[in-house]
């Protein structure tokens, strides 16, 4: 059938017309390119008048393809596709030319700009002739949602969805939900007690009819795609029967084995071999730490079992795989603390009174190992002076290039707590004071008033090598006071290292399971850093909280809620449309070599043994096209990006070049070259 292409060149005011002779481009296109029925230029193509013009042409002239030469498709492709739809032209028969971002704005010279513009327009025209109508695929959305991570971000997402009436499976690796926030004492800048605002949310999640808690559990496997994910979760053996246990705590009380708690108490406190991480844990069901338990160690004891009033102890319990079906997934897996041993110059691990920020949180916490008393490792001496060192492992290309975002405010909070609970002097050693949210700068001003000392400089070393009698028995903080330009040594009793926030060690691995990618560092990549910060490039998978980048509590809550809102919307609508840009295999051409199977990171290609051919599961295909390019038999075709379309685009974009020989490239399937 005869092709009738419409070409529409936008001035975008002077943005494009400034460096491209748009009238000439339109005129030339109409005269030169084969099959062009109409070619126009217009001041603002995206304006309603511009769109109407296109729609009229489609109706009156019966266009079979539309080329809009304007701005980036990432900006207005939807706009013009919609216009085509109004005029009953399949939206996938509309092709945009990125004249503005890729040509007028980057070309210095009008002649060159115009020439480049022509080539791009020619390419689009040739391409659109090859394009075929496509229909977006409609997928039903399973209203149940999986939230991974029971920290504040995950909790927020869970409760928002549950309150909206949708079921949520909340998976948490630790024995209790609560995350890092449960370890904190006060929260900046308002200084309200962390537990007081967190525990209500925890118990609400624990009791909510729409929430299924899967604590002490980890995500094992994810398959399917938006709307219908199939998920396998490993429930690690607790050795306690959750259905019977009442959480009375007698087992914990009677357990003879104490061990250092390197988890919740950050190594400062002790716990039993059977334990709940903290008194307000949700659920209150304890777990047995097999590494510590005397029974698992020596085959003796079983005190807990003997004394449990409900016989809930189950030493023969084993890991269990739970299978779930959900429509969407929220990853809220949080962060881990930088290992401060990596900076020996700060003496952590060698000098007893050097603490990490998490240790200090526990030290301040009324429910912590010292009942909130700030004392040295000896457990009794109150420090006369405390140094808080910022940027430990942050803003450091050898460890974490990025700023950890929360440390400045946390350091100010620590300063306040020291001044409130002790008579000590407090010093903050900072590079730049970053207090950028509501009430934060005010909090900094408050600490200045309260008498916290501020020294601008990254601490060079913390040492016990005294140079003067005054330094004997102290920790000496050596630093350049950069505002004075002089090296200084300040002797203190206690040093707190503000360790960096790092991605969880297994973040990349988990990301792969869910089909989303990480930054180099390991933070999850959002769909758009500004305009779409909770969605990811994989439909139906959302991120919330610090797993996407260092974040404080308010920001994590916001993102958790935002993720929930996005999901509620999808559930309310009941279905999602997904772009039909997927691969398909022409079975008569498929040689069954299986190369494509190994190509696909989403396992969207399955091999049909009996038939000896591969097949694409289109609901799982993300349309990258790698398999298309990899197929030696040329049996795979990528919708909207098939060989014929790309080859046509290549020929068009080189319309003004001299083909070598017959323009035939070696090794290219003839079919691909002449569609």
């Amino acid at each position: 059938m005869a092709r009738k292409i419409g070409i529409y060149v936008c001035h975008c005011g002077s943005n494009i017309a400034g460096t491209i002779d748009v009238e000439e481009v339109a005129r030339w296109a109409g005269a030169t390119i084969d099959g062009v029925a109409v070619a126009r230029d217009y001041k603002f193509m995206c304006s309603s008048l511009g769109q109407q013009m296109i729609e009229e042409d489609i109706r009156k002239k019966g266009l079979t393809g539309v080329v809009v030469a304007a701005c980036s498709p990432h900006l207005h492709e939807k706009t013009f596709r919609r216009a085509c739809e109004h005029a009953e032209l399949n939206p996938y028969l509309c092709q945009m030319v990125n004249l503005r971002e890729h040509c007028s704005w980057v070309c210095a010279d009008k002649a060159a700009g115009t020439a480049k513009a022509k080539a791009l327009v020619y390419a689009a025209a040739e391409r659109v002739k090859q394009q075929v109508p496509l229909e977006p695929m409609e997928v039903q959305v399973n209203p149940a949602t999986l939230v991974v991570g029971g920290g504040i971000a995950g909790l927020q997402a869970t409760l928002e969805l549950a309150d909206a009436g949708y079921h949520v499976y909340l998976v948490e690796r630790e024995p209790s939900i609560g995350g890092h926030m449960a370890q904190f004492d006060k929260t900046f800048p308002t200084l309200d007690c962390s537990a007081c605002i967190l525990t209500p949310k925890m118990s609400e999640a624990g009791q909510h009819a729409n929430v299924t808690l899967l604590t002490y559990s980890e995500l094992e496997e994810v398959s399917g795609s938006v709307g219908n994910f199939k998920v396998k979760v490993r429930k690690k053996a607790r050795y306690v029967d959750e259905t019977i246990c009442t959480g009375c705590g007698i087992c914990i009380e009677k357990c003879p084995r104490r061990v250092v708690d390197n988890g919740f108490e950050a190594g400062l406190g002790q716990r039993k071999a059977i334990y709940t991480p903290f008194p307000q844990a949700v659920p209150r069901i304890p777990v047995i730490d097999t590494a510590a338990c005397i029974w698992f160690d020596r085959g003796k004891c079983r005190a807990c079992e003997k004394l449990c009033p409900t016989n809930a102890i189950a030493f023969d319990q084993e890991d269990e795989i739970v299978e779930l079906q959900v429509g969407n997934i929220v990853l809220a897996t949080g962060w881990k603390l930088f290992d401060c041993h990596k900076l020996p110059q700060y003496g952590y691990g060698r000098l007893p009174n050097v603490y990490t920020n998490m240790e200090f949180e526990r030290l301040c916490n009324a429910a912590g190992p010292t009942n909130g008393k700030i004392v040295l490792r000896d457990g009794k001496t109150e420090p006369k002076s405390v140094a808080v060192i910022h940027c430990v492992g942050s803003r450091d290309v050898r460890h974490n290039e990025s700023c950890s975002a929360v440390c400045c405010m946390a350091a100010l909070k620590f300063g306040h707590l020291v001044l409130e609970k002790t008579k000590a002097e407090v010093y903050s050693f900072y590079i730049d004071m970053r207090t950028y949210h509501k009430g934060y700068e005010e909090f900094f001003q408050r600490l200045l008033k309260e008498g916290m000392h501020f020294v601008r400089g990254k601490v060079a070393e913390v040492t016990d090598a005294a140079r003067t009698p005054g330094e004997e028995g102290k920790l000496i903080v050596q630093v350049e006071d950069t505002l004075v330009g002089q090296q200084q040594r300040i002797a203190v009793d206690m040093v707190v290292l503000m360790g960096a926030l790092e991605p969880q060690a297994d973040a990349k691995e988990l990301g792969l399971k869910c089909g989303i990618s990480c930054s180099m560092q390991g933070w999850y990549t959002e769909r758009h850093p500004k305009l779409d910060p909770v969605a990811t490039m994989t439909d139906g998978v959302f991120v919330a909280g610090a797993c996407q980048g260092p974040k404080d509590i308010p920001a994590s809550v916001v993102q958790g809620a935002a993720a929930a809102a996005r999901i509620s919307g999808m559930i309310a609508k009941g279905h999602v449309m997904i772009e039909p840009i997927v691969a398909s295999i022409q079975e008569d051409k498929c040689s069954g070599c299986k190369i494509c199977n190994t190509m696909c990171p989403y396992n969207a290609i399955e091999f049909d043994e009996p038939a000896g051919v591969s097949r694409v599961i289109s609901s799982m295909c993300k349309g990258c096209g790698t398999c298309v390019a990899a197929c030696p038999a040329g049996a795979i075709s990528g919708a909207h990006f098939n060989n014929a379309q790309i080859m046509a685009e290549i020929r068009g974009i080189l319309w003004d070049a001299v083909p070598s020989g017959n323009g035939q490239a070696p090794g290219v399937p003839a079919a691909a070259l002449n569609p």
Partner: protein, 165 residues
Amino acid sequence: MSDPTFEPKIVGFCCNWCSYRAADLAGTARIKYAPNVRIIRLMCSGRVDPGFVLSALANGADGVLIAGCHPGECHYLSQNYKAMRRYHVLKHTLAALGLEPDRLRLVWASAAEGQQLAEAIDRLVEDIRKLGPLRWPANWEAEPCCQEAVESIAREHQEAMEVLP
């Protein structure tokens, strides 16, 4: 021996998620760079079929640019690694066909690296200018080594693909 008046024609294949957006950013930031590179949008650098590169050269391009997301940041997890492998295989193939392998270049550009992409394009254009216009060896079909190379494309290609990152 490079001819300063020679304006090379270069086809650029950009992935939809990083490098194409980098080019968008170069535009929004009004960064000026050589007009010689004409960009074709693909969903992923992994979509770049060796055939595309060869037919671009056959259709008169003097050079080809492939731009993808940084390793580890591919929107499709790891497909840019596959692009990287094909790229190396292709360089061999070009050499075997009697073409300068330097006419093909692979660069990584995140959506935030408009500046870097512009610089890479300028560098490429200058390098291709030095190489001069592409002269596809006449009657290459006659050359046994080329024939062999042509047949080897699919094979090499396949071998390169089998090892996953």
